[in-house]
């Protein structure tokens, strides 16, 4: 394998990893505060896809369509909290989990009924969908754009969490929700905030995701939510750093196996990736950067 190909694939792996990390952060955000997985998270990515699709058809430029998509993602995330989480705040863990599944199924079927069960293509602008050539290097613009946008978004998120009062409230609630409430952090506000940030990250990640696959289907949210979920598990549950590490590891594994495995086995790449995930968890059950579960008050 030539050095060029190795570098190109390394950039691809970093790019995919950063995208998984970004998406996983959005899912981990809600998990860290509430201790619950939002299985309707993938539908946020689908909402971004369909918003972009309709916006472009209405003649809206891609950049603006992307921003609209992110806004819809935030709104749907807040609605998920309002409909599936808030009324069940005092209900059992299982009840809320099923409510998020119900939300996911509802949104998928809404798309099937209101739009179409069939896939639709999205014309990604050539500016993104091109290849950068430097000498013998050929790198897809989208890979670079994905990497830059993901890293900048994560940097801004760290700044928000570390430097603002709202960020401090989220970190406090993630560390121990009851203690945060005791200290005057309003439960509803911090939960809404976590869903808002989650929707924003799913929105940005969703735009990059849609640009990558260049099409939409009602069930398109499955792969992103599953990947985010696995990334969180690899990294360590309830730990934002873990989501980022897990996302990069998962992306790296996918690209690595694509390069290394013979073409005839490619349809089974997911199985191989999951096998490696199982091995990682067998060795480190608490995840790569996870700590042993701390008791909450």
């Amino acid at each position: 394998m030539s050095i060029e190909i190795i570098i190109q694939q390394a950039i691809n792996a970093l790019s995919l990893g950063s995208l998984y990390a970004l998406l996983a952060l959005g899912l981990a955000m809600v998990y860290s505060v509430l201790g619950l997985m939002n299985f309707a998270y993938g539908e946020l990515v689908a909402m971004v896809g369909y918003t972009i699709y309709f916006s472009i058809n209405a003649g809206v430029p891609y950049g603006l369509a992307a921003i609209l998509g992110i806004m819809v993602s935030i709104i749907v995330a807040l609605l998920t909290e309002l409909i599936a989480f808030r009324p069940l705040r005092k209900a059992s863990y299982a009840a809320v989990l099923f409510a998020t599944f119900a939300m996911s199924v509802f949104l998928q079927n809404l798309i099937r009924q209101a739009v179409s069960p069939r896939p639709r293509g999205i014309n990604v602008p050539e500016l993104i969908d091109s290849v950068i050539k430097i000498g013998s290097f050929r790198i897809s613009t989208l890979s670079v754009v994905t990497l830059v946008i993901s890293l900048v978004s994560m940097g801004l998120l760290v700044g928000f969490l570390q430097k603002t009062k709202s960020g401090l409230a989220i970190r406090a609630a993630a560390a121990n929700f009851e203690i945060a409430r005791l200290l005057g952090v309003p439960a509803n506000r911090v939960i809404s905030l976590a869903f808002m940030v989650s929707g924003l990250l799913a929105g940005i990640g969703g735009v990059l995701w849609v640009s990558r696959i260049g099409g939409i289907t009602p069930a398109m949210g499955f792969k992103p939510v599953l990947s985010s979920f696995i990334a969180i598990i690899i990294g360590g549950l309830g730990n934002l750093k873990g989501a980022v590490v897990g996302g990069f590891v998962f992306g790296l594994l996918e690209v690595l196996l694509q390069v290394v495995l013979p073409p005839s086995t490619r349809p089974f790449i997911d199985a191989f990736v999951l096998l490696i995930v199982v091995v990682i968890l067998a060795i480190k059950p608490e995840g790569l950067v996870g700590k042993k579960a701390e008791s909450k008050l």
Binding site: A169, R171, I179, A180, R181, L182, L183, G184, V185, L297
Partner: protein, 237 residues
């Protein structure tokens, strides 16, 4: 200051508190003692709004405050130092203090309060940027109390502050509570360490299985630990 009437509260199908009536006067130190599972922690959590009472009333300065949220309780001047201290992992000492003043919007007041607690607890000033869970047990207890003081409470409630501390550190915490009372803060102390609780409190409530068994001036019970424990056991069986 604060008064409950026939308070009933609990979790799920269980009523942990069964008609609990207590009264705390301004600038008193009142102790609540009793065995594990008596409902002492539940009582404190109900007073600060973490648990909603099912029946009964809570009055603060004569006004009913039954069912208020923890943030409103803080704004009224009720602060709780929780059992096990509740130090927030991943946050520094400074950030733990900052979140203690979450309900205060004025940044100048917040930084004044930070200076005040640093003057009272010099060790916290030294460790300002250290991750708080790396502090020793005694330092964590100081941080937990300092954090509660960040909301400038009129009444401080403490849930077993002596738990897990060496005897000399327990003495330090008790001295601190006396200092706070001298500064005009009312103290409601839940303790299993009967001797210490009786030594610093004005009045004591003895609780078992969700009920107040009896109450009275602490001086009356000093040296009668065994009788008190007998009373618990009677309540338990």
């Amino acid at each position: 200051m604060i008064e409950t009437q026939e308070l009933v509260a609990g979790y799920g199908p269980v009523n942990v508190l069964q008609k609990v009536s207590i009264k705390v006067q301004p600038k008193e130190i009142v102790a609540v003692i009793g065995p594990n599972g008596a409902g002492k922690s539940t009582l404190l959590k109900t007073l600060v709004g973490l648990i909603e009472p099912r029946l009964g009333t809570i009055r603060y300065d004569g006004k009913p405050i039954t069912g208020i949220t923890p943030e409103k309780a803080l704004l009224l001047g009720l602060a709780l130092v929780p059992e096990g201290r509740g130090i927030l992992s991943g946050l520094t000492v400074y950030e733990n203090l900052l979140i203690g003043a979450y309900v205060e919007k004025n940044k100048k007041i917040i930084s004044e309060r930070i200076s005040d607690v640093y003057a009272r607890f010099p060790v916290l000033a030294e460790r300002s940027n250290q991750i708080a869970v790396t502090l020793s047990g005694g330092e964590q207890q100081q941080l937990a109390i300092a954090r509660a003081l960040m909301s400038a409470p009129k009444m401080l409630m403490l849930d077993e502050p002596s738990l897990g501390l060496a005897p000399n550190l327990v003495q330090k915490v008790m001295d601190l509570l006396c200092d706070l009372r001298a500064d005009g803060i009312t103290v409601l102390l839940v303790e299993q360490n009967i001797t210490q609780a009786l030594a610093i409190s004005d009045r004591v409530y003895v609780m078992s299985t969700g009920k107040i068994l009896f109450e009275g001036p602490s001086a009356k019970f000093i040296g009668k630990n065994e009788e008190l424990e007998q009373a618990y056991l009677g309540g338990v069986s």
